[in-house]
Symmetry: C2
Subunit: 188 residues, 2 copies
């Protein structure tokens, strides 16, 4: 039995991987309606295989979005380790807005679904940003009279609003990050 099971387990891992990759590709195409059929077509798998691998389309989307957040969390950790964490924070905010600009439609849809994996990753991302702010404070790069937790909410909410703005101009994200970082600069 066990020799027959192994190839099947390897197939299941491969199918999960292909389904996740296909979902992430579709998530990066704004305006795409994500259906099991569209994912199956993109992955080169059958719809039944997709359902067998993930149970529901929502569970698959949850896993895919959680995967997408992983590199952002890594970037926030890397930024905290840089010698000038305030400069790294500025770059991180621009990356965050770029990411949200591509993915905000998905985020809106997720508010109506149970997304345990995505929620856990969002909490990690928030914690990584709080850590980055603490590091930037310690390094003298940002002001110390505003609580890092409050600053994290402020940056997260405002960056998301800027990213999804229907009035987005090439200047908007850059101006926003400039005003925020100058506003966070230590007071003389």
């Amino acid at each position: 039995m066990s020799t027959a099971e192994h190839p099947r387990r390897a197939d299941a891992v491969r199918n999960r991987h292909l389904a996740l990759k296909a979902t992430k590709t579709l998530l990066a195409q704004p305006g795409t309606t994500i259906t099991v059929e569209a994912i199956a077509r993109q992955a080169g798998l059958g719809a039944a295989t997709i359902v067998r691998a993930f149970g529901t389309k929502d569970a698959l989307i949850d896993a895919a979005v959680a995967d997408l957040l992983e590199p952002l969390i890594q970037r926030a950790h890397q930024a905290a380790a840089e010698p000038d964490p305030a400069a790294a924070l500025r770059r991180f905010l621009l990356e965050l807005i770029d990411f949200q600009a591509v993915h905000w439609i998905v985020s809106e849809q997720l508010t109506r679904l149970p997304v345990p994996l995505t929620s856990a990753r969002r909490a990690e991302l928030r914690k990584a940003l709080v850590d980055l702010l603490h590091r930037a404070r310690e390094a003298g790069g940002i002001r110390t009279d505003i609580d890092p937790d409050v600053t994290t909410v402020m940056l997260g909410e405002a960056a998301y609003a800027i990213a999804r703005s229907s009035d987005a101009s090439p200047d908007l994200a850059a101006s926003f990050v400039t005003v925020m970082m100058d506003g966070l600069h230590p007071r003389s």
Copy 2:
């Protein structure tokens, strides 16, 4: 005929006024489902009278939200006339966030409706904020290297995001306005 018409016209004006007032009261109660029946009950009028006065519930909500924006527009105009327009801008932003914190659920619902009156008032509010920013620049109260139109979009989008944040703490709005205003301060 004309003597019989006049009281009827006066009634129509009064009913429109009562229906608008009732709708504004309901809009200020977050979580209320606004139905013609609820408006009629609040106004002390019959549902048929409400429909006769406004045509549709959506038209009535549009008129009510447009009315609610009027005092904000006036405040922005007053702020632009103050001797320290940057300080007036700070106060205006706090008022704007207070207003949005009460009314953001309505704003979300309006995105799916045609709201010509509200759209026109929003354009007026935006114009008043652009004027206020120009005045603050001229008075030396804010930096001149960021376009007032871009700044208006940035402030409007970010303030709205802060106002509707599920993580709103007593500090959040105050910290946001402090960071924004310090970030907009003229560079030395």
